[in-house]
């Protein structure tokens, strides 16, 4: 595929994610003012930070009068899962120059990670997959900015978007990406453990439950894979 083809394909594959993020962007834009952010600061936060969960937690803590140090520490904890995405995609972007790696990292969200990883694990050896990454990332970014702006400008007069449940589009996409990956016992076990731990730890604040679930799933997957490799070695011996 050509560069522009990859780019538009990336943007197009993000459509369900854009739909899912839309209500949250608008709600963020309409709520940030009450927490003490000016309209410019609200837009500035979406432009510069670009991390939905962290932005929501920041305005709720800000509204409660939390200090700067705690807010920044919370941002660190909430966004820690992105280090996993960074590690997971590093083998695919390591050949790119810095002028590519810096913006792609800035635009790395949960949604872009899922969709872009799916593209990178396609068996084809297309040379321009980073253009797909760029298209997906930019689509998410522009959507987030527009929704924040709509929230800031029209705030409460926007009909109740959250009640539609558009966020299900994100779940359906993640399901469509994960289920075909469950091809062997370690992957299935990783999914079951991650799901169970996520449920057991759902009450933990700051996405700590998600972090614990991800690590548990990864550890169980690796352990089982090592054990089945040992069994194969023993059978051969």
């Amino acid at each position: 595929m050509t560069r522009s083809h990859e780019f538009t394909q990336g943007a197009r594959d993000m459509l369900p994610m854009l739909l899912g993020a839309m209500p949250f962007g608008i709600i963020f834009g309409s709520l940030a003012g009450a927490a003490g952010l000016s309209p410019w600061q609200t837009i500035g936060m979406s432009l510069l930070v670009f991390a939905g969960s962290a932005q929501f937690i920041a305005i709720s803590l800000l509204g409660a009068g939390t200090g700067l140090a705690v807010l920044l520490l919370t941002t660190l904890v909430v966004n820690l899962r992105h280090a996993l995405y960074s590690a997971s995609l590093q083998p695919f972007v390591r050949h790119l120059p810095k002028r590519w790696r810096v913006p792609l990292a800035f635009w790395l969200t949960d949604e872009a990670y899922a969709v872009v990883l799916h593209r990178y694990t396609d068996a084809d050896a297309a040379p321009h997959k980073h253009w797909y990454f760029l298209g997906a990332a930019l689509a998410m970014y522009l959507n987030w900015q527009l929704c924040t702006l709509v929230g800031v400008l029209f705030g409460q007069s926007v009909p109740n978007l959250a009640a539609w449940g558009l966020d299900f589009a994100m779940l359906a996409t993640f399901i469509g990406i994960v289920v075909p990956m469950l091809r062997n016992c370690p992957q299935v076990a990783a999914a079951l453990v991650a799901g169970a731990v996520a449920l057991a730890c759902h009450a933990l604040p700051y996405k700590l439950g998600l972090l614990a679930a991800a690590f548990s799933g990864i550890v169980v997957g690796v352990l089982l894979e090592r054990r089945s490799a040992e069994v194969v070695v023993e059978e051969l011996a």
């Binding site: 997971s88 109740n160 589009a169 993640f174 075909p180 759902h202 799933g217």
Partner: protein, 109 residues
């Protein structure tokens, strides 16, 4: 507190985390880490999806037959397992989801 200071601090922290491993293009992961990375998408995405289906509001269990997130999520899992087709899963899942929400009177119409 200066809100701009907060925003710039959040920018620095968020970007540093996201760039953390993109910053080292020459780094090659040891075999154990590489093995672990194979499980990142499965573990993280499942850890987002499962609570999304069973606790759609993020707080309360909804192990009920009027929970469209749960039923349509199960339908999407079935479609994905049978078709292994991403677009069919998204389209089919959304269709089941909105039909259920409509039938259950959960849409703001």
């Amino acid at each position: 507190m200066d809100n701009w200071l907060l925003i710039l601090g959040m920018l620095a922290i968020t970007f540093s985390i996201r760039y953390s491993l993109f910053a080292f293009p020459n780094l090659r992961f040891p075999p154990l880490a590489r093995q672990g990375l194979h499980f990142v998408p499965t573990a993280v995405l499942t850890a987002i999806v499962v609570p999304g289906m069973l606790l759609p509001d993020g707080q309360y269990w909804a192990l009920r037959l009027d929970n469209a997130y749960l039923l349509a999520g199960l339908a999407a899992i079935a479609i994905a397992a049978l078709s292994r087709h991403l677009l069919a899963t998204i389209g089919g899942g959304l269709l089941v989801f909105f039909l259920l929400r409509w039938a259950l009177g959960q849409l703001p119409l």
